[in-house]
Amino acid sequence: MDTLSAAWTLLLTADAELMGIIGLSLRVSLTATLIATLIGAPIGAALAIWRFPGRRLVLLLASTLMALPPVVAGLFVYLALSRAGPLGELGLLFTPAAMIVAQSILILPIIIALVHAAIQPMQREYDDMLTSVAAGPWLRVRTLMWDARFVLVTAVLAGFGRAIAEVGAVLIVGGNIAGVTRVMTTTIALETSKGNLELALALGLILMFIAFAVNVVMQGLTRFGRQYEVA
């Protein structure tokens, strides 16, 4: 109960620092979700529609990488972006951009695997019809994606959920710098390490509230989309 009221007080006072942290969390995780979707959805769809060499391997890899520990993804990006690493020249380490890269890598496999799973049954169902109208590859992908769009939303939400919840990757590549790379999860970890367990829990509740809000918005968009459904 104390935690709940502490969370409310934190939100209602709209502390500028907390608002900045929430804003950065949303920016980093939503951008990572957008990037992973733009890359992962076409790959997932292609894997469901066409047979090509290496297809099974890519699928196996995607479902294996769903278990990639965030710390490992973070380490990988750290080593790449460090000044001692191949992309060090860019100077991206300890910036929000590095956090976006790490989270994109983390959720890309989820998007690929879930989009594949969403499109595959549609492909089986529509294959004859699409072949009979001699649909080109672009029309085929578009038709299947559109008809699977409500399941695709779930894939995107699953990706966003993993991004906004993880702490291991953003901690390593962001460095939890106050006002620059500090997000909700790293703040929760920091407050826990300071022994401020109630505050940490209150921040956790706020994070859940934000995830709830994002889901409500996505659900609203889905409803809005259903109006245009062809009967």
Binding site: R27, L34, G175, S193, K194, G195
Partner: protein
Amino acid sequence: MIRNMCLAAAIWLAAIPAAAAEFITVASTTSTENSGLLSEILPKFTEKTGIEVRVVAVGTGQALRIARNGDADLLLVHHRPSEDAFVAEGYGLERRDVMYNDFVLIGPGDDPAGISGAGDVSEALVRIAEAEAPFLSRGDDSGTHKKELELWAEAGVTLPDGGWYLETGSGMGATLNIGVATGAYVLTDRGTWITFGNKRDNELLFSGDPRLFNPYGVIVVNPERFPHAKVEAAQALSDWLVSAEGQAAIGAFQIEGLQAFCPNSPEKAGRREQEEERCPADR
């Protein structure tokens, strides 16, 4: 319309908080950051110079590693042998004294090993070992961990593999959280313990041995090794920390009404003697 909305969303998402004109990255330890010292004194430096300071607070071992990779411009850490090695290997310019605080032993309030009456830190550790009372080590190559291993060696205690001596492999805060929950002894620094919010019935049981002094040093990375490093700005912060102004800011920082760090730059020798009279290690 939808395209414009997507574009606007993309711009909002990609917008990264506006960075100050100039910033430096400091690799430092959790004890300086979590105690609130750096967030108290660094704004004074930024106000004066316009240089933004970004602090990555990790264990000393990891901080040194970050600097070795060229990912920091300045180090503020607390393990003298590692600092000297860092400079000797050509990664950093000179190491300067900045301040010190002290390590303390905390444990359950009823003090089963009876360390509160020990004459010095070696005796306290021997009592823990003889009582086989649970002791938690960080085991993470941090400055505190390295110090702890040195203290055990000086006390002549051969550490068992498991049993009453356990490594958490975690940061100071995580180790303290485990320690208070299991009633174990832990070596920590005074500032972290005073600000720690989850003490339960655990108490500071032993402190005051001069060997528990915990000196912090500042090192600017070597520009010959790291041409991209912002050495001028880092040097400005290093100079400020040992200046009369910086030393005064460190000395004025208090946790719950007590001075938490003692400025000890020999470059301000006159001040130093006055400061030492009211330093936490002497309390």
